[in-house]
Symmetry: C2
Subunit: 367 residues, 2 copies
Amino acid sequence: MKAVRHGAKVLPEHARAHNRSLVLQTLFHQGAMSRADISRETGLTRVTISDLVAELIADGFIAEKGVREASGPGKPAILVDLDRDGHRIVGIDLSGSESFIGAVLTLDGDIVVRREVAAPATEDVVATVVALARDLVADSHAPVLGIGVGTPGVVDDRGVILTAPNFGWAGFDLESALEDALGLPVLVANDANAAVLAEYTFGGAGDDVILVKVGRGVGSGLLAAGQPLRGSRFAAGEIGHVTVGTDGGPVCVCGKVGCLEAWLSVPALTARLDAVADRDGILRDAGERLGIALAPVVGALDLSEVVLSGPEELLDGPLAQQAVETLRARTLAQFHDGVRVRMTAQGQDIVLRGAAVMVLSGQLGVS
Amino acid sequence: MKAVRHGAKVLPEHARAHNRSLVLQTLFHQGAMSRADISRETGLTRVTISDLVAELIADGFIAEKGVREASGPGKPAILVDLDRDGHRIVGIDLSGSESFIGAVLTLDGDIVVRREVAAPATEDVVATVVALARDLVADSHAPVLGIGVGTPGVVDDRGVILTAPNFGWAGFDLESALEDALGLPVLVANDANAAVLAEYTFGGAGDDVILVKVGRGVGSGLLAAGQPLRGSRFAAGEIGHVTVGTDGGPVCVCGKVGCLEAWLSVPALTARLDAVADRDGILRDAGERLGIALAPVVGALDLSEVVLSGPEELLDGPLAQQAVETLRARTLAQFHDGVRVRMTAQGQDIVLRGAAVMVLSGQLGVS
């Protein structure tokens, strides 16, 4: 028997917060509209909408944006929209092996300022992130709604880094450490989990998708029915050390043989490309291994697409092509013949933009 | 950009239905308690609880169950509980190759009447199910809350069978056909998806679990964070025709080589066991293939356990043992060394009990 979920209760103040998010969500996705439009879209009464809109204008989240000419008699409708210049978001991406990048973003996820700093020694990571965030907050011409951080490692739902070997973190509450230093709301998540949010909100991904992030390591972020998967130990998406196939393979840095990461990580791929002349063959082999590893996941979750993030010169082309061919060959044609494998169109900005989505979602309830 | 989800709005009547479910859910999981206890558990006011309890008593879903002796001064508290005899549920399992089984169940999922009929010719399936359901409704000593049906095939969220080759169904609205014939609420789902609900509600499964159902074919049902996974085409869990390994294997009925079903289905296993003397070796091979197929799924979803449903004499023992060894060897020890593979303790009743959970959830909001 399960414990009752206390989060499920609906109290009046929760309904209000929920309705507030609903108004923001509607404007976020549909743009400027009248109060009457919002009422129609949300099913909430005109009175409730007028009330919420007044409150959201006072808080600086929405603004009146002129009038729409009346098509018939009566006074023209005043349009309201998210005040896309009323607030900014700071996003930070710690997944680069050479550098950390950060940005000031609009509520629409557009990057207006970008900064990059060299990746520091392990013991200086927090200080470096704090300094980068402070500079970005100072860069912003509007109040900063919050700071989103995408980091390698396994992160729980309160922003505690359960493990991040690159930084020597285990059980480290990065979210609190940064909030204390910066005095602003901070949200921390795994980099690939941030990336899949960006792909969903800004990149046109479907509701059932895996984003595979290829860099020094290989990780992924998954959505099922548009909801992020977290896993029993917050380790959902950790597919880098799953063994691929039953015919051996390269030795992995973890000591096992044939891990996906040993086939697909940038260092592993680059080393093999440097060693042999058959570039396409190497890339096709890696794509085939990706397809072998993902076929059971595509089948079990009935995913409609696989999105790749990482160096285009490696991932786009023969690798992605072979991955989709292998996926289709190894799953049930009836359901998965249409599965797609594509590069993200968001390039290097994907984690930064995902970090912005975390803040939009955490602070405004918009997703 | 996503369309706004209209389902997300919280209107007063939704809050009331939600709170009603919350009271039922609390009693379902915790048993008899006082109105004051319910108020404390749910965070809802005493007035709201008194109101909801009165309504639920009038509807025959809960009942007063005596008093608890007062430990201090004041009058003893009246206990209320689900009226576990006030309603019954009918569950039907169409997954057997030889027969259909049906049962009358209590709200706790206990089976009080069971019936079995020979599986009919394809064209008689609906008539057979209707007759079985009518008999079971007549068997019930209390009003029937609804009828849950677990069936092979891919079923959408409205009970339309998208495809069920065994019965020749494609795009067939079984739920409406049965509701029209029976005049009671009907809920239809895939048999393995029903089974995982039973394992979650009655079998002690964790929040992140796959239930693998082995019979004529091989299917599965998955929960992530306690929520059923449906997939982009309602085909989540369809892992029978995922290719396992990169070293060939038996030819599958689908024509491909090395599908999980060709290794693990009851007919495939039985045929191999009949042909050779090394029973343990055959079972271990099948378990290894199950582990190979599931390793990427366990990694991607960070599942804590794999539950097996099907013939114990085949699945329990060397097969399950090898499956867990293979799973652990092919995933990251840090996260998945604790992953378990076990038989369900619910035997043949698992789909019937899952069908009851569908009705509890659909009609009372209890899960």
